[in-house]
């Protein structure tokens, strides 16, 4: 709060809406580059669907590999939106203001990307698209609700729908601002989308209530989504490394860690891209860094529980899995990389205030966290399958093929691309939130010192 500038509404509008009306060359270059990668990934996926899954590195016993890891990873990133928007809104943290929409939009696009993964990795994706839904009332052929893979689409679609509603409700005032400043086709679209917003007190009240309700209701959804994704693994009884009661909260806290780190990365990126130095300030990444310390510690507790109790069971196949993870190269290198990049380096650095307030170091540490968390999912899924039960003749290893790697890289490009395309049509930092922050901000004098203060609306 110390560095907050007093900004006029005109200035806020100009800064935050600038990209929508005219984007810099930097922006178009990046969009172009990402589009090429995404097209490459589409080609790879198309090739895989056309030729069959033999083009991947999958085998028996490792039937789930890179693509499912990626699925779990992107569901994880999607948890950032709710964590920051809903929880910080309900706890009235002032420093959430520039981050909320970027986080929510990241959620939506990472969810959409995540959903493509289990569809394309099935043997017959053209059937997967519709057979997972209950529609065949006439013949009575239903999806099996006992299967965690049927709970997944329900949970993910609920989360996607509520996230979209969440973003939209928060967008309405900003869409009205855009409507009032555009012409032609743009104006028509924004008029329809802004639903007749006039900024009257009643409309503001309704919008605030809707936002609070959605924040409260989306919290259980957010916890349940990744828990249900974790149930894909923990409901199995054959893969001992997966059959752990801790998976639900472990996955959720891991999702929060990678999600919030992802939001920090993205925020610093858009600050650079759109020159938003006045809006995304050091105090924001400082506060996010402190939040990340708590999240990282909580994650480590759950990781320690999962790991220790895996060994505690003293079951041959689980011990073999842990042995593979820790001592057999290249898995041992991956494991070392994972635990250092996901926890030790970032946490060690975040303890220092100068690191937390440095844009460069926060970018580095949060990127490292996500590298580590991607590896974490990989190390849960593949070694678990590679050392399943006592039939050692079926034990094997896994290496991804070029097709899988291209697809995975493509998903990263796709999320970023969709995010940037969103920024071309809608403002990434909520105007009304920033303006509200300006209104609620004031100073009090304690002795000779002026301390920034904020109004509590309780």
């Amino acid at each position: 709060m110390q560095e907050a500038k007093v900004l006029s509404y005109r200035q806020i509008n100009k800064d935050l809406l600038g990209n929508i009306f005219k984007s810099s060359n930097r922006y178009w270059l990046i969009v172009g580059f990402l589009t090429i990668i995404v097209l490459g990934a589409f080609a790879a996926a198309g090739y895989m669907i056309n030729r069959g899954l033999w083009v991947t590195g999958l085998n028996r016993p490792i039937f789930w590999g890179f693509m499912i890891t990626n699925f779990v990873f992107w569901i994880g990133i999607s948890h950032a939106g709710v964590m920051l928007s809903a929880i910080l809104r309900l706890s009235k943290a002032e420093w959430r203001r520039p981050a909320t929409r970027a986080a929510e939009v990241l959620t939506i696009f990472s969810l959409m990307t995540a959903v493509t993964m289990p569809i394309i990795h099935t043997g017959r994706p053209w059937r997967t698209l519709y057979w997972a839904f209950p529609f065949d009332f006439q013949r009575g052929i239903w999806p099996d609700v006992r299967s965690a893979l049927v709970w997944d689409p329900s949970a993910i679609n609920t989360y996607l729908t509520s996230s979209i509603m969440f973003v939209f409700v928060a967008l309405i005032p900003d869409l009205a601002v855009l409507r009032d400043r555009s012409t032609g086709l743009r104006r028509m679209i924004y008029t329809v989308l802004s639903m007749g917003w006039r900024g009257s007190p009643r409309q503001w009240k309704l919008q605030a209530i809707a936002g609070i309700l959605l924040s409260a209701l989306i919290l259980p959804v957010f916890v349940s989504v990744h828990s249900i994704v974790s149930f894909d693994f923990s409901m199995t009884i054959s893969v001992k490394a997966w059959h752990s009661t801790i998976f639900a909260p472990y996955f959720v806290i891991g999702a929060v860690l990678s999600g919030v780190s992802g939001v920090v990365t993205v925020m610093i990126f858009i600050r650079w891209l759109f020159n938003w130095e006045d809006y995304i300030r050091r105090e924001h990444i400082d506060a996010l860094g402190r939040l990340l310390i708590v999240i990282a510690l909580a994650w480590f507790y759950f990781f320690a529980l999962e790991f220790m109790f895996g060994i505690y069971g003293q079951e041959g196949d689980e011990l073999a899995t842990r042995h593979m993870q820790m001592f057999e190269p290249p898995w041992s290198w991956l494991f070392l990389t994972f635990i250092i990049t996901a926890f030790f380096i970032p946490l060690g650095l975040w303890l220092f205030r100068d690191v937390r307030r440095s844009f460069l170091w926060m970018t580095i540490t949060t990127l490292l966290v996500n590298v580590g968390m991607w590896l974490e999912r990989f190390l849960i899924i593949v070694p678990g399958l590679a050392r399943k039960q006592g039939f050692t003749g079926t034990w094997h290893t896994y290496a991804p093929s070029a097709v899988e790697i291209t697809i995975i890289v493509g998903t990263f490009a796709m999320v970023l691309l969709l995010f940037l395309l969103f920024a071309k049509v809608f403002p990434l930092i909520p105007l009304f939130d920033i303006k509200e922050g300006q209104v609620l901000k004031d100073e009090i004098k304690i002795g000779r010192r002026r301390v920034p203060a904020v109004i509590r609306e309780d």
């Binding site: 085998n59 028996r60 099935t122 017959r124 099996d144």
Partner: protein
């Protein structure tokens, strides 16, 4: 059509020589694609019944048995058709379910290939078609017309040669109106292919609901056990323990 059968199998490990005749027979009967070396190396070979070989011996240096004190142990592993099959509840589209004859049934045209069932099978007896199977033209005539050819993207596994069981029921119970028992199954060559091919009578198939069948009697043998019993899968395949000669003297 089904008249209260519960199909089961007894595998007498004491008799197994590891000759793999069962594997070949199953391959031929069920239109399984030919497994070349590259399939074994990439771990995509299909063997609905496989012979797991373990080395055993009394003297071990660093966990490796030393000649001449070495024995080979063979365990034929096939789909156990578990009553509490872990592969069944996890299929999102009901492509695998337990029918009323105790068989774990795979519905090929419903399968979308998520491979969740293969992950949850502790015996690792489920196979995924990573590509369309191809046979050279010279082999087309040997394909079994009673069995579907599975396209890519679909799971498959041992069915207890359900095509033979259905034919047996149709002929014996449907046409002749008689009760199906061991003798009739054998007479009509309707035992599963692996059972037929086994030279040492390791594999025994029959109706567990029939108290006179060989499987019913042999599954009560004092040597009987089930694979991975602590998982609670309740398989319909019962194994009979191997007895070493020197230990048999004390039995």
């Amino acid at each position: 059509m089904a008249s209260h059968h519960k199909w089961g199998m007894v595998v007498d490990i004491d008799r197994c020589t590891g000759c793999q005749a069962c594997v070949m027979a199953c391959q031929a009967e069920n239109n399984i694609a030919v497994n070349e070396e590259v399939h074994f190396l990439s771990r995509r070979a299909h063997q609905w019944i496989r012979i797991d070989r373990y080395w055993d011996g009394d003297t071990k240096e660093k966990g490796v048995v030393t000649w001449p004190d070495v024995k080979a142990r063979f365990i034929p592993v096939l789909c156990q058709h578990c009553e509490n099959a872990p592969c069944e509840p996890v299929c999102p589209v009901y492509a695998t379910y337990h029918n009323n004859q105790g068989l774990n049934v795979q519905v090929y045209n419903r399968c979308i290939g998520t491979r969740y069932c293969a992950n949850n099978c502790p015996y690792q007896v489920r196979f995924f078609n990573f590509r369309d199977p191809l046979w050279p033209k010279s082999l087309w005539n040997h394909l079994n017309p009673d069995v579907t050819i599975r396209s890519r993207g679909i799971m498959e596994k041992c069915t207890f040669c359900i095509q033979r069981i259905r034919r047996a029921e149709r002929v014996v119970e449907g046409q002749r109106g008689e009760q199906l028992d061991d003798a009739k199954l054998k007479a009509g060559n309707w035992m599963p292919a692996c059972v037929n091919a086994c030279p040492t009578d390791t594999l025994i198939f029959g109706d567990l609901n029939d108290p006179n069948s060989q499987v019913s009697r042999k599954s009560q043998d004092p040597r009987h056990y089930k694979l991975l019993e602590e998982l609670g899968t309740d398989p319909n395949v019962v194994y009979l323990k191997k007895v070493d000669p020197q230990h048999a003297q004390h039995a």
